[in-house]
């Protein structure tokens, strides 16, 4: 048995080197196989998608690459292109300022809305990324609306200052009265703020030139600036109002409950376009012709009412999703209504409602283009009216509406990405 070994033809004395995996099990080929061609149906879908992308690229590629940027009318564009496929982007170049600011905002003042726009990010930062910034920075956010008003509309600085102080007065009164009852605190705060504004109205009149920027009437505003203004103002106003309405609808006090229910159901039952017509047309009869309540303000009120009714229902959904135990826990800790809402109920309910609120906000932002129907020159209004109504540019559709779509896409996609990030940040579920 001793020479058994010698009879063995071959003995491996070392471990085989690792062979590379088969070519179809590694790298891009594996990825393609697994993701694009894993089954017959997937293969068909992949091929169809490739065809669609190719088709779109060959259809739009030359059109965009051949685009003309420097002519002064559609006819000249066509002369330059000599029958080739190509876009006439000159309209964007020539009417760039009009598309962004409307056709009447004085061009030497463009820096003001631009500055307000830049500051918007400064103001939104602490609010949106509250984990990154210390709480103190929220003061910036609180001051921003008044600063933006001052920049965009101009006029004396006293108007936004007093408006801000009115809110401060309201908050002080609320703090005092909320210990007795939440509803009383709110009511007292509203009354105090309005009384303050009314009283200071007598002071701002004579001080109209104190630290005044050149005033710009709101009918001179337009373009994408108007969409942004309406969107930002109405979303930020409708969120607190929506919360109040949602709480009001769940209240045990019949008057508050029924006011909320009637408001929400009435506003939700009416199309936005109808409300806009009411703002523009019907109110014109009830207000004197020289009324100070200008169109943009009427439209802001209407869109805010509309959005807050929807947000109220979204938040009510969030409130309803909370287990009853949460309410009872708040009660058992001896918290009063305002405290239990602020500390326990709303933080949870709002977190649940984020997708719904974002949904309403994105929809609302796009709905701001409806104001073009009541002859306001927002981005779409500028395109449909003045620009397509100019004999040089009549007939340019794809370039203009594509540009509008691009602007809206950028904003809406950012909002949607942010909200997904926010949901991940607030994720506390046990999964």
């Amino acid at each position: 048995m001793s020479d058994t070994h010698s009879q063995t033809a071959f003995v491996r004395t070392e471990v085989l080197p690792e062979a590379p995996p088969p070519v179809y099990e590694q790298g891009i080929v594996k990825w393609l196989r697994e993701n694009l061609f894993s089954s017959v149906a997937n293969t068909i879908l992949t091929l169809a998608a490739i065809w669609a992308v190719y088709y779109l690229a060959t259809a739009t590629g030359p059109w965009i690459l051949n685009g003309v940027w420097t002519t002064s009318s559609l006819t000249e564009c066509r002369d330059v292109l000599q029958g080739d496929v190509g876009a006439c982007f000159s309209v964007l170049a020539e009417r760039w300022n009009q598309l962004l600011f409307g056709f009447k905002y004085p061009d030497e003042l463009y820096w003001r809305p631009l500055l307000a726009f830049a500051l918007l990010f400064v103001a939104l930062g602490p609010l949106l990324f509250f984990k990154v910034f210390p709480r103190k920075f929220l003061a910036l956010t609180a001051v921003y609306p008044f600063l933006a008003f001052y920049l965009i509309w101009g006029g004396t600085i006293m108007v936004p200052v007093f408006a801000l102080l009115g809110f401060v007065v309201g908050i002080i009164v609320y703090r005092r009265l909320v210990l007795q009852s939440a509803a009383m605190g709110l009511l007292g705060a509203v009354i105090a703020a309005f009384a303050f504004w009314y009283a200071t109205g007598f002071i701002t009149g004579p001080m109209a030139n104190f630290l005044a920027l050149e005033p710009v009437p709101s009918r001179d505003m337009g373009g994408f600036m108007l969409n942004m203004m309406l969107g930002v103002i109405c979303v930020s106003l409708s969120l607190p109002i929506g919360i109040l309405l949602a709480l009001g609808r769940q209240s045990n006090m019949p008057i508050i409950k029924w006011i909320s229910v009637v408001f929400i159901e009435f506003i939700r039952g009416v199309p936005l376009i109808t409300l806009l017509f009411v703002a523009n047309v019907v109110l014109a009869y009830f207000l004197p012709p020289e009324s100070s309540l200008d169109l943009i303000l009427r439209v802001i009120i209407m869109i805010t009412m509309f959005a807050s009714a929807y947000i109220a229902e979204v938040i009510r959904g969030g409130l309803a999703a909370l287990p009853k135990g949460q309410y009872e826990a708040a009660d058992s800790l001896g918290l009063d209504y305002a405290q239990s809402m602020q500390l326990i109920i709303l933080p949870q309910a709002l977190k649940i409602s984020i997708p719904g609120i974002v949904n309403v906000s994105v929809g609302l932002f796009k709905d701001t283009t409806l104001v073009s129907v009541i002859s306001m020159f927002d981005l779409v209004g500028m395109i449909r009216g003045p620009i397509l109504g100019a004999s040089e540019w009549n007939g340019v559709y794809w370039e203009l509406f594509g540009f509008a779509a691009l602007l809206f896409f950028v904003v809406c996609y950012s909002i949607s990405q942010y909200s997904q990030w926010l949901e991940r940040q607030l994720q506390t579920d046990h999964r």
């Binding site: 559609l74 006819t75 066509r78 020539e94 009417r95 009009q98 056709f103 009447k104 017509f277 523009n280 047309v281 019907v282 014109a284 009869y285 009830f286 004197p288 012709p289 073009s372 129907v373 009541i374 002859s375 020159f377 209004g381 449909r384 009216g385 003045p386 620009i387 397509l388 109504g389 100019a390 004999s391 040089e392 009549n394 007939g395 559709y397």
Partner: protein
């Protein structure tokens, strides 16, 4: 052109509550600006240019009135209106006059309580077809597919025309002019019908306008003109006679080039009365004697305004047609300045 019964009814109802204040002329003078309602943008008739200044054939009427009343053709607050908001804007007093290619109809004049102060453009509904179709008359359109804006009087006119001529058609309903241009070019319909001025402007925007023809038939009457609120006749007279002054100036050969010279006095009494060197016509209107001179100097007489904004040398290229002076076989006929 386009009527919305609902808004018409609302306008009429609102009038009773509305502030149809008398004395618009005094209001305008006191305010120092004229609130003039225009369209949000229509090729050749009214649109802001790249510098944000309004220009166009309807805008010219506003400018002439502002020049006559306020001596300043730029002292105007242009209030853009849509087809749906224009009448309420006027009835509620938001605007002093409306110059927005609005068709003079019985109901608008009588039922909505407005006062049309004349006609600055005689329009009418027409048809546009591709030349490749080989059609030379609207009577040959039996069985055609027609692009038509819904909810407009053009839709009703079309139905009447085809019924009267015992023909069939297939309507392709569309919402806006922009949409119809795309549909027509894409071949979704054989024929596009709207007002002839609109057809001309649409055709001018095509890549190959010479491949499309506007058929000779005009199947409706669309007299477009400025209007004011009913009941304020002093103001109505100012707008009416400013328009008439532009028309008469063309008839009398007064142009922006020779007006300074003619205003020194001529041996033609009507020219003298128009330009204020004789008579007291301006005072009768509540204005000064140079009112018509200022109105004409803004952009010239009717013919010059037509040529500059929508005439044959512009991309729109409208012929004078019905809008020629009565002496040239058209319908323009300004009453005498006497």
């Amino acid at each position: 052109m386009k009527t919305s019964v609902f808004f018409a009814a609302m306008t009429a109802a609102g009038l009773s509550a509305g502030a149809a204040a008398a004395g618009t002329l005094d209001d305008v003078k006191a305010r120092g600006t004229l609130n003039c309602g225009v369209t949000t943008g229509l090729v050749g008739f009214a649109a802001p240019n790249a510098n944000g200044e309004w220009e166009g054939f309807d805008v010219a009427v506003c400018r002439a009135v502002a020049a006559a009343v306020l001596s300043d053709p730029t002292a105007i607050e242009f209030v853009p209106t849509t087809g749906k908001t224009r009448f309420t804007a006027l009835a509620s007093g938001e605007i002093d006059m409306l110059a927005r290619n609005t068709t003079w109809t019985f109901t608008r004049d009588v039922d909505l309580k407005f006062e049309f102060t004349g006609v600055n453009y005689y329009d009418g509904q027409g048809f546009m077809v591709p030349k490749a179709l080989g059609v030379s008359s609207a009577k040959e359109l039996d069985g055609a597919t027609v692009c038509i804006q819904t909810g407009t009087t053009t839709e009703l006119n079309l139905a009447d025309f085809f019924r009267k001529n015992n023909m069939d058609y297939e309507p392709v309903p569309i919402e806006t002019n922009a949409e119809s241009q795309q549909q027509y070019l894409a071949g979704a319909c054989d024929v596009y019908t709207t007002d002839r001025s609109g057809l001309a402007a649409t055709r001018a925007s095509f890549e190959n306008p010479e491949e499309h023809a506007i058929l000779p038939e005009t199947i409706s009457k669309e007299p477009l003109g400025p209007l004011v609120r009913h009941g304020d006749h002093e103001w109505g007279d100012v707008v009416r006679w400013t328009l008439n002054a532009l028309i008469a100036a063309e008839e009398l050969g007064v142009t922006s080039a020779n007006i300074e010279e003619l205003a020194k006095g001529t041996n033609r009494p009507e020219v003298n009365r128009l330009l204020g060197t004789e008579g007291t016509l301006g005072e009768m209107l509540g204005l000064d004697k140079d009112w018509a001179k200022r109105a004409i100097m803004v952009g010239g007489n009717y013919g010059e305004l037509f040529a500059k904004n929508i005439g044959e040398s512009t991309p729109i290229g409208l012929a004078r047609g019905l809008n020629a002076q009565w002496t040239d076989g058209g319908l323009l006929y300004a009453p005498p300045f006497r």
